[in-house]
Amino acid sequence: MLREITIGQYYPVDSVLHRMDPRTKLFGTMVYIVSLFLADNVWGYAAAALFLAMVIRLSRVPVAFMVRGLKAILFLLLISVSFNLFLTEGEEIFRIGFLHVTWEGVRMAGFMAVRLIFLVMGSSVMTLTTTPNQLTDGLEKSLGFLKKVRVPVHEMAMIMSIALRFIPILVEETDKIMKAQMARGADFESGGLVQKAKSMVPLLVPLFISAFRRATDLAMAMEARCYHGGEGRTKMKPLKYARRDRAAYAAYAGYLGVIVLTKLV
């Protein structure tokens, strides 16, 4: 059940995208998100779809795996689509009570849905091809300039990578404790809201205890290896741009150009 969530999960295959510098992918994701908000007609979205399809192809992650990630935003998608569909003023198609559907509403709802789907798929391409550690490395380096104004970039990146690292561990732990309590006759599904909340206690208490235990263990292990913050710390694998990254930046520029062109159509 908990394995179903694919947003933010790394998919281990070898592809150009997997080997790319995380900064390139971060920047690319940003460019893509901006482009989605720039595009305002069918041509713009067609270009965005084409670009996404190409990137997914390059990543060698099965499309089915990505579509599964959309399940998580299904609810959000439904709400935003129906709001746009029923509440946009304009030329009316039909009306049921106070709800009316307009041509403008259909257009807006359609674009909104496409935008949201592309947004989620675009950013999941990044997380599927980049390990959390690479991602934080990339963020730390990209935001390094903030250190000059005393923003603790390294510490924040470290917190983030530890948090990300702990997600699968805690998921596994939850699964294990859940099974252990189910073996003692626990029932996490039936009953009303109060009953359900009550049945969570045997799950949450051990989970919190184990999270604290792991945190102290990790802190101890880090201290034992002389961790003292980011100052003077060097990397085993410093980030370095390669030719494929330069090619990617060129592709971004080309893509943004196309998007801007479609606005002029």
Binding site: R3, Y11, P12, V13, P62, F65, K176, I177, K179, A180, Q181, M182, A183, R184, G185, A186, D187, V201, P202, V205, P206, I209, S210
Partner: protein, 283 residues
Amino acid sequence: MAIKVEDLTFVYNEGTALEQRALDGVSFEIPDGQFVGLIGHTGSGKSTLIQHLNGLVKPTGGKIYYNGEDIYSEGYSLRQLRSKVGLVFQYPEHQLFEVDVISDVCYGPRNLGLSEEEVRERAEEALRLVGMKEKYWEQSPFELSGGQKRRVAIAGVLAMNPEVLILDEPTAGLDPKGRDEILDQVEKLHKARGMTIILVSHSMEDMARYAERLLVMNHGRKAFDGTPKEIFRHYKELEQMGLAAPQVTYVVHALRERGVEIDEDITTVEAARDALLAVLRRA
């Protein structure tokens, strides 16, 4: 027959790059009242297998019967099954959550819908079975030592009055004294109450001492199935699977190679002592 497993297969993350075959066509039967040892290297599918036995995991293929009934058939109460087949996970003390020892042990029987009196009775009985003294009952389980916590957790499963008790490495991380105490108590349950026991362990010495039958898992398949004596004869194959025979078996084999006439099926230190004394007396 109590538990019957037929052609059991389980695949993790089916249809993705992370696909992993944890169990592959495993079949066996465990009659009532047997003490079965389950061994295999880390990742051989032992833990996945035992989670199937009380219906916590749905198999990808194959069937499991408990007392002749298919546990995955529609309308079969898995909750009922879980009270009959008690499963003690690895590091069971990590599942404690209540404010005091006795309430934690009460959790299982209370989930069975018993009366409050009966719940209390069962909890007290279970705590006595694992040798927890009365003075600890009102204490917080988090204040106890590691070995005591584990006993409380095992009591939590015993309080459900299971017919079959499955223990996944119940002695991991305990000192030798704590280990012997827990295993002796398990054996007592087996002998005194005729409880079926399935014990997962990495200690071949423990297996030779307690188990009547050994199941050996290797890469998701059943590799061997027989008495400890039969299994440990294959010590060379076991080594290839990342396992071994008890230390004393190696000593016996070395002695035989040097011409000492001693039974090659000796698996416990006590048996080896007696056999050697007999040899010395003859000489």
